[in-house]
Symmetry: C2
Subunit: 98 residues, 2 copies
DNA sequence: CGGCCGCTTGCGCGCTTGCGCAAGTAGTGA
DNA sequence: TCACTACTTGCGCAAGCGCGCAAGCGGCCG
């Protein structure tokens, strides 16, 4: 069983920042899409159903939380998940929300 | 490996609500404390280091997200974790935040 | 170089959040 | 009933968030 739950204020701040990045349905929708592989901003914008600038801002939130990483190819910027654990965390949220 | 990540807008809304409840360091501190067993509001207020009304509001957030449950005993109201998975979710956040 | 495409950034708006403080409520005991 | 304790709720404020819109890059191609 995993123990070691108690943490410092700074660590809690960081964990809270991750949770905050996950606290928006559109960003969760992005993660679902990225689970199928990397996507460009306009692809994500289309799939999620919002305007490109708005999507870019959501992606910036996910990126500054370290949940996604980017790769530039010509005019396109492709986003992908930074870590498999991001999906595991999302699955935990889904499990609790059920 | 767990699949079944794709969900409806409503389900994403619910998952996002869980994440939002976890997106504050004080509330995470509450969860850490409650991992050691149930506590009264004033105990939590003391441990976390905030005023009682503020703690009551944070607990209301956790409660309406279904992460904690209450039990009344005389003048005291005791809070405890609603589910072991809440701690697992927190541990996932810690793991990603590292 | 000039125009275009893809993405990011800045700005302003309405809404939500966390907080302190004051007031209200529920339960206990004299 | 009255006072006391423990907790909740209402209120107002400052800060933050999501969004649309417009403007600003950066990289391609003719």
């Amino acid at each position: 069983m995993t123990a070691l739950l108690v943490s410092s204020e700074l660590e809690r701040e960081r964990s809270a920042a991750i949770a905050r990045a996950l606290s928006d349905p559109k960003r969760l929708c992005v993660l679902e899409t990225l689970a199928g592989g990397e996507r460009s901003v306009s692809e994500l914008s289309h799939d999620v159903g919002c305007q490109v600038p708005n999507m870019s801002q959501h992606l910036a939130v996910l990126r500054s939380a370290g949940l996604v990483v980017t790769r530039r190819d010509g005019n396109n910027v492709f986003y992908r998940l930074a870590d498999e654990r991001v999906l595991e965390a999302y699955r935990m949220l889904q499990s609790i929300a059920r």
